[in-house]
């Protein structure tokens, strides 16, 4: 049955939201039982187009509410309020191995959500478009300030929350890909935590001297936070993903300077030669490079480089000495790091040492390595450029399955925010 175009009313609320906020997608004024397709389209900063789509049938009131009604088919199915975002994937014909990461956090991610007549699988451009809205997704809340940091030879960006402060602080570390990745720190600042994104593998100082930074670089970053007039020096956390976990655990346990209120470690491991430099940790991984495997698509699996988890205590951070609350977030299908096995070993070490009450482990079945803020598209594998000299480009297998991984991201982020809020904003607890 043909629907009169002008009658259809599509709305997305909020039309301007933070990237971790849910929205409600509603279509009204349809004929009861009308078949339609929702289509989401986003052009990322690199110029690639990403899309998601889902088939719905209007109810007896002529309405479809994506938060309540099931998708029958498409890039997601079932009742999935945010499916139009997390199931976004590169349009047919795109380059392989793409990963969506916002570089400029001061502008929003813009998504166009449209409604088409009938159940379309592809070829949207020549179908009957009934209505369309534009939605903005922001990493920065109003009033959040972005402050580039160059003191102490750091390459970093500090995000200060809205308001006079002072605020709790956080050092935010990404992994082996290097570069200065700001979006998670911007989002954390939007939640009231003054967060510094730190480039520690490819900072200016390394480019100039050719030397990888060491412990003092991180201690300097910590000090910048601690001494900042708008940051509470006694309430500083660290959050690390992948190799960022290695750094976080090392600092949390061994540094005389870094005194953390809490730490969050995502998809990482405590396995590293202790007492050595950061460069020596990287060399240790490289030594085991022969354990690299490839799947049937020639995608690189690096999880075995640190397996089996060593029994030699000089090759693991001494978790028994940890004195602050720690949250570990791991995907059980992580193909890049043995994060699950590491988490289990860390738990055992802490149980033996008597400090396991500090530990929370969030472990997700069928989730992969890249556990990021929620509602962002999933990449089971993507091109990865190493920071070695010379760099190599591979297709890294991260692991995970779309739906389980997306659920894991949502759950882990929510729990991470609660954990950080409790430890940074709540009553001060010192030590074990």
């Amino acid at each position: 049955m043909d629907m009169k175009q002008h009658c259809v009313k599509l709305s997305v609320q909020p039309s301007r939201g933070l990237v971790d906020e849910k929205f409600t997608v509603l279509v009204q004024n349809l004929l009861p039982g009308f078949q339609l397709t929702f289509h989401a389209l986003h052009q990322c900063e690199d110029g690639h187009s990403w899309e998601a789509f889902a088939h719905y049938t209007a109810d007896t009131t002529g309405t479809v509410n994506v938060s309540q009604d099931p998708s029958l088919d498409g890039t997601y199915s079932g009742v999935e309020p945010m499916g139009l975002l997390w199931s976004l994937r590169p349009v047919p014909g795109s380059k392989s191995g793409l990963r969506m990461r916002k570089k400029n956090v001061q502008t929003p991610m813009v998504v166009t959500i449209s409604v088409y007549q009938g159940h379309q699988m592809e070829g949207f451009l020549d179908r009957v478009l009934l209505a369309s809205v534009v939605v903005e997704r922001w990493y920065m809340a109003p009033g959040v300030r972005r402050v580039p940091i160059t003191d102490g030879k750091l390459t970093a960006t500090l995000f200060l929350p809205s308001g006079p402060g002072p605020f709790p602080g956080l050092l935010d570390l990404w992994g082996n890909g290097g570069k200065l990745v700001e979006y998670r720190a911007a989002l954390l600042a939007s939640h009231g935590i003054a967060s510094m994104a730190l480039d520690y593998l490819t900072p200016q100082i390394t480019k100039e001297t050719g030397k990888i930074v060491d412990n003092d670089y991180f201690e300097t970053a910590y000090r910048v936070l601690e001494q900042h007039p708008q940051i509470l020096g006694s309430r500083i956390a660290m959050l690390g993903l992948s190799f960022g976990t290695s750094v976080t655990l090392r600092m949390a346990v061994y540094s005389q300077v870094v005194k953390l209120s809490c730490a969050v470690c995502i998809s990482g491991s405590h396995v590293q030669p202790i007492g050595g430099s950061v460069e020596e940790i990287l060399a240790y991984f490289k030594k085991n490079a022969d354990k690299t495997r490839f799947d049937e698509n020639k995608q690189v699996i690096w999880r075995d480089l640190l397996l089996p988890i060593p029994t030699d205590p000089s090759l693991k951070v001494d978790m028994g000495r940890l004195q602050c609350p720690l949250m570990l977030v791991v995907g059980e299908d992580d193909q890049n790091w043995p994060s699950y096995e590491s988490a289990m070993d860390m738990k055992e070490m802490m149980e033996r040492a008597g400090n396991s009450h500090l530990l929370t482990v969030l472990s997700y079945k069928n989730a992969g390595h890249l556990i990021e803020p929620p509602f962002m598209p999933f990449a089971r594998a993507s091109t990865f450029k190493t920071v070695t000299n010379p760099p190599t480009k591979v297709m890294a297998l991260w692991g995970g399955e779309l739906v389980a991984h997306s659920r894991a991201q949502e759950d882990a982020w929510r729990k991470t925010l609660v954990f950080l809020r409790e430890n940074l904003y709540g009553s001060m607890k010192h030590g074990a």
Partner: protein, 428 residues
């Protein structure tokens, strides 16, 4: 020593349309502590506007403006949006100020802060415990803004995002003149291709000569736009804009509006059919203008008694589309409720009263704006090249309720008459 961290103010959503409600919360306060929630906005004219409410945190140290009672300030009681609608110029400001967004492409910024204790003033001289900035937008993402300068008509057209075509609206403000875009931008954000029309400039004498055909031309510019449904174009007016709308709906042989929304209007007929003619009718009764104790001008007397002579009134019996009248019964600028009653009688006699819906709000004034706007009880106005202050009327809380309620009903009326597949219907 164990102690909690700093309090946190959150506003959700942090970026919203101006007619969307928000939730303001403060967390991590000591339990049972008296605090003041404060809002601050600096207008495009650089004036400061503020509102505040007095609260006491609960046992968890939380204040939720949507759920808790304000026991003092510029508003009291359970008022989720009180920090916006009860805003007024800060002490020491110029008299007769009115808040009107001129640049609708950027948001209105409001800073929401929490202060310790129950504070009544001097907010700029002390540090808040915490604050959060929130954005209030007149334009949804994707709405397009187009300058219109054709066939002698001046205006701004706002087109919703999407394939269209969309129902259209001609949006007209009142005798203050100029080009005010904000309501048209907001209506476009709700799916109506809306043109804010510039038609009167108190400083330009010749705009008073504008006749009905200027408005007919403007209406047709909207109607003929490729993304507008030519059989679904309506009229939206306030004050003088309502008079124009009523005249067009009843008298024009050229334009056929799909429906009309008329806020604080009347059915004064202009001899000679010009805007100047309308003012001439008003000012025939200049001697009936009164002044209140502040020397603010009360014009409502000029409209009373409603003339019996039908040649002085627009023949509303000729209106053939649904029409919604929105008025406040404390309107000190014009006896709009009495006029609405007279219009109803005329339409009853003509047999088209089924097209009329009247909304009348107790203690609301003349300037019924989109919801959560501050209440403008008396503001500066240029009359005959002179700066005076006109009393618009209304009491803040009932006036704000009227703005909120009427907007909801206006949107429902527009939706019914312009979007519904079964076509226009008379009553809501």
């Amino acid at each position: 020593m164990s102690h909690t961290g700093p309090p946190v103010v959150s506003v959700h959503p942090s970026r919203a349309m101006v007619d969307e409600a928000f939730k303001v919360q403060v967390e991590n306060l000591p339990p049972g502590s008296p605090v003041t929630l404060h809002s601050l906005h600096q207008s495009e004219d650089k004036d400061y506007w503020e509102a505040f409410g007095h609260y006491v945190s609960d046992h968890r140290g939380t204040v939720s403006v949507a759920d808790d009672l304000s026991c003092g300030g510029t508003y009291t009681g359970k008022e989720a949006m009180g920090l916006l609608w009860s805003m007024r110029p800060v002490p020491g400001s110029r008299e007769g100020l009115r808040l009107r967004k001129l640049n609708v492409c950027i948001p209105q910024l409001v800073n929401i802060s929490v202060y310790s204790g129950h504070v009544g003033g001097g907010f700029r001289e002390q540090d808040p415990l915490a604050s959060a900035l929130t954005e209030r937008w007149y334009m949804a993402p994707g709405v397009r803004r187009i300058d219109i300068k054709e066939k002698g008509v001046r205006g701004t057209l706002f087109i919703p995002h999407g394939p269209g075509p969309f129902p259209g609206l001609l949006d007209m403000w009142g005798g203050g003149g100029g080009l005010l875009e904000y309501r048209a931008a907001l209506l476009a954000s709700h799916g109506y291709a809306s043109m804010a029309l510039e038609y009167f400039n108190p400083a330009e004498v010749n705009t008073a000569e504008l006749e009905l055909n200027y408005f007919e031309t403007a209406f047709n510019i909207v109607r003929d736009h490729p993304q507008v449904m030519s059989d679904r174009v309506g009229l939206f007016g306030l004050s003088l804009g309502s008079i124009v709308s009523i005249s067009l709906a009843a008298l024009s042989s050229v334009v056929k509006p799909c429906c009309c929304v008329c806020i604080s209007g009347n059915h004064t007929h202009a001899r000679g059919g010009t805007i100047g003619g309308v003012f001439n009718e008003f000012f025939k009764n200049l001697h009936k203008v009164r002044m209140d104790e502040n020397k603010y001008e009360i014009w409502r007397g000029m409209g009373l008694p409603i003339p019996d002579d039908i040649s002085q009134k627009v023949d509303v019996g000729k209106i053939s589309c649904p029409i919604l009248l929105v008025n406040g019964d404390d309107d000190q600028n014009w006896p709009t409720v009495e006029c609405a009653e007279d219009m109803a009688q005329m339409m009853r006699a003509a047999g088209n009263e089924h097209l009329l819906t009247r909304l009348e709000y107790p203690d609301a004034g003349h300037l019924i704006e989109p919801p959560y706007s501050p209440h403008f009880r008396a503001t500066k106005f240029i009359k005959d090249g002179q700066k005076v202050i006109l009393l618009w009327g209304g009491t803040t809380k009932p006036h704000s309720d009227a703005q909120e309620d009427s907007w909801k009903k206006i949107l429902a009326f527009l939706q019914q008459n312009m979007y519904s597949s079964s076509g226009p219907r008379a009553k809501l």
